[in-house]
């Protein structure tokens, strides 16, 4: 068969970039002064400046993790990264007022179109700052707060002060420290008691500049008996030099509430994606992470749920796709701290063209957590002999009244499967696309339809020209 080597750049649809028209661009590199300058530009209260500075020092002192992919991690040049870049004067509520350059980018990504059709609210972040923000009137009338994080801090300082860092403290890990020091943008979302937000709200994160660092910070508080589905998408242009995305997401699910947080991360293959996502679920609350990792150079991300109240539930469904030169080190963490809490983890990964996918998971059941149920399923699919898949599951169960199930499988696409599909008129690439979409189906069916269709299309495109 013919050799159809295509570089990763050619396969990536969102690799276009606009010229930079920055209104503020910091010099590359990080120092205490940079951290103080970011806080000053945002005219933040003193307590926030203080947390940032403390976090900065923790980041400097904290060693780089010696697990995951040390070789790639140590390749990050923190001095070469721009920690703050602002491209527009402010956050617009009307699409027309967004600067043309930026508007064009989001038009090409289909954001305004999606908003009209099926979203309850949208925030679009370009580099360091949110450039567009809207929420449906009916949600606003019900008291739903949906703001970019900077506005959230200005308008609801007490709430932010109470919860900021309460789920992910800056000292949690090196990258949560970095995020806390230089955070900018992200979403602040509060759903009042008993309010069910039927339509998903979406955040879209776009890195446009070279060597950019994006450090958004998201805080979602679901009050008792409320529910919300939050969706985020991420893309960046393809440059030969690297960018860094290091977000922190904190979720608080109060009694009987339900938060679903869906991510389709499709960063270009030059982005380090090092993200800390964690939620606390109180009595009978449930948190679902639906986490899709397609892009980036290295992703290290382990969405976590702390099941703090009796009867709380965690659902973590993740897929990872690793192509040439990519490593997806993804997984999940669940801490069962209360009786009769339940968790279900489903992880599916595909590796192709020498890509590497790892599942890294941790489930802890505390001595007090009687009658818990845990189910962990990890499936890996290898599309060729050069690719790699690893599983690092950890279970610490300190209570013998729990039911714990764990299954793991690694499979390869078989020649007979391909032949069967080809005998029904499908080319080899179409056949591979069908098998891959089928493998991810348990994930795809959890997404809003528009996302599912888009994800299937992306995967089919990844299969194009991929058959040697």
């Amino acid at each position: 068969m013919k050799e159809q080597a295509r570089d990763a750049v050619g396969d990536y649809r969102y690799g276009f970039h606009d010229s930079e028209n920055a209104t503020i661009r910091f010099d590359s590199g990080l120092s205490e002064q940079v951290v103080r300058d970011i806080s000053a530009i945002k005219k933040e209260p003193q307590w926030m400046t203080d947390i940032r500075v403390k976090a900065y020092h923790h980041f400097i002192e904290r060693p780089m993790p010696d697990w995951g992919n040390s070789e790639m991690l140590n390749g990050i040049n923190f001095d070469n990264i721009c920690y703050y870049l602002k491209s527009s004067a402010g956050t617009e509520k009307s699409w027309e007022e967004v600067p043309d350059e930026i508007k064009r980018t989001f038009d090409r990504l289909g954001i305004p179109d999606a908003e009209q059709k099926w979203l309850g609210g949208v925030t679009a972040q370009y580099e360091s700052e949110a450039v567009y923000h809207s929420i449906r009137d009916d949600l606003e009338e019900q008291g739903v707060i949906f703001l970019d994080m900077d506005s959230g801090l200005r308008e609801y300082e007490d709430l932010v002060k109470q919860y900021f860092g309460s789920v992910v403290p800056y000292s949690d890990n090196k990258f949560s420290a970095l995020n806390t020091a230089v955070w900018s943008g992200g979403s602040f979302l509060v759903i009042p008691e008993g309010v069910h937000v039927e339509m998903p709200v979406q955040a879209y994160f776009r890195i446009n500049a070279k060597n950019m660092g994006q450090f958004e910070r998201t805080l979602i508080i679901a009050k008792a008996g409320s529910s919300i589905h939050y969706v985020e998408g991420c893309t960046a242009p393809t440059y030969s030099t690297e960018s860094l995305h290091s977000a922190v997401v904190e979720l608080i699910a109060e009694e009987g509430s339900h938060i679903r947080y869906s991510t389709i991360q499709n960063w270009s293959a030059n982005v380090y994606n090092l993200v800390t996502k964690r939620g606390i679920a109180y009595k009978n609350a449930s948190i679902e992470w639906v986490d899709g990792n397609l892009g980036s150079k290295l992703t290290m991300k382990y969405p976590a749920v702390i099941l703090k109240g009796e009867g709380a539930h965690a659902d973590i469904i993740s897929v990872a796709y690793s192509g040439e030169g990519q490593h997806q080190d993804a997984g999940s963490k669940v801490h069962h701290l209360a009786p009769r809490t339940t968790s279900r983890i489903l992880s599916k990964s595909i590796s192709k063209n020498g890509g590497r996918s790892s599942y890294r998971g941790m489930v802890q059941v505390s001595p007090k957590a009687h009658g818990c149920k845990v189910s962990v399923v990890c499936d890996a699919l290898l599309l060729d002999a050069d690719s790699r898949s690893d599983t690092y599951p950890t279970m610490e169960v300190a209570n013998n009244s729990c039911s714990v199930e764990h299954e793991a499988s690694v499979s390869k696409v078989s020649g007979d499967q391909l032949f069967y599909l080809m005998s029904r008129g499908h080319t080899e690439e179409e056949a591979m696309g069908m098998i891959v979409n089928g493998f991810f189906e348990p994930f795809t069916r959890e997404l809003p339809m528009e996302y599912a269709v888009e994800l299937n299309r992306l995967l089919e495109m990844e299969m194009e020209g991929s058959i040697g």
Partner: protein
């Protein structure tokens, strides 16, 4: 006589370095049903896979022409799009892909511009499923995933009916079927055979009770040992294969 739909001339086929088919020739025309009978290991399934183009089955010499074109020029999917169909003895499971989606995509791939509209296809599916005694819930299941033997064979025949091939090759479609399913499957084959050509590979006479083969070929050790009409199948059923064995080869095959 009309131009043959498929003409096979003295082919030899190797599988993993084993020489399995050793000089086989046959011609098939529209409207004909050809049955191939033979013991396990005679090369029947090898012929089916080689004709459809499985990469592990290599035609090392001889020629095959389909609709006047050398078959080797066509990739597997091009053969399917040109009207060839293989009903598999062991259909593959494709987890996560629903039968309904798979059928629609396959009909679109194979029939291209001539594919029916979605509405028309739904109607055709409904009719074909009713004929095969298949429940609607079938469409939402994943292709062959957790299917019983009978369900797999029904899905193969359902695909055949919807793809309406010009040349259908059925590889032991009858094995492991109960008598009712067998009858249903035979009805499906008969309805396709009216406007096309079927090559039916089987161990047993019983499927042939429900079909009217134009020719029965007995395959022994990679070649056609005898060709006859439907009566040959009855003779094989009664007497076995030994009497057709070329002298001095029986012990090699046993």
């Amino acid at each position: 006589m009309s131009v043959p739909l498929l003409s096979i001339e003295d082919i030899h086929v190797e599988v993993d370095g084993n020489h399995v088919i050793k000089g086989l020739s046959m011609e098939m025309r529209k409207g004909e049903i050809h049955a191939i009978m033979g013991r396990n290991g005679a090369g029947k399934s090898t012929l089916a896979h080689a004709l459809m183009g499985h990469p592990d089955y290599e035609i090392t010499s001889g020629s095959v022409r389909y609709l006047g074109r050398p078959l080797e020029e066509l990739e597997v999917w091009e053969r399917a799009r040109a009207g060839m169909f293989l009903s598999f003895q062991y259909p593959q499971a494709i987890p996560g892909v629903q039968v309904g989606t798979f059928l629609r995509k396959s009909v679109q791939a194979v029939r291209g511009d001539e594919a029916p509209s979605n509405k028309e296809l739904r109607k055709q599916m409904k009719e074909a499923m009713a004929a095969l005694g298949v429940d609607r819930s079938f469409l939402a299941r994943y292709v062959n995933d957790g299917f019983s033997g009978g369900e797999k064979k029904r899905l193969e025949i359902l695909q055949m009916l919807l793809l309406s091939p010009q040349l259908a090759i059925l590889d032991e479609t009858d094995s492991g079927l109960d008598i009712d399913t067998l009858r249903t499957v035979a009805t499906g084959i008969n309805s396709v055979a009216e406007n096309s050509c079927c090559l039916v590979i089987t161990h047993y006479q019983r499927l042939l009770d429900h079909l009217k083969p134009t020719y029965v070929h007995v395959m022994i050790d990679g070649a056609i040992a005898k060709v006859g009409g439907p009566e040959l199948a009855l003779e094989v059923e009664e007497k076995g294969y030994d009497w057709l064995q070329p002298a001095g080869t029986a012990e090699v095959l046993s």
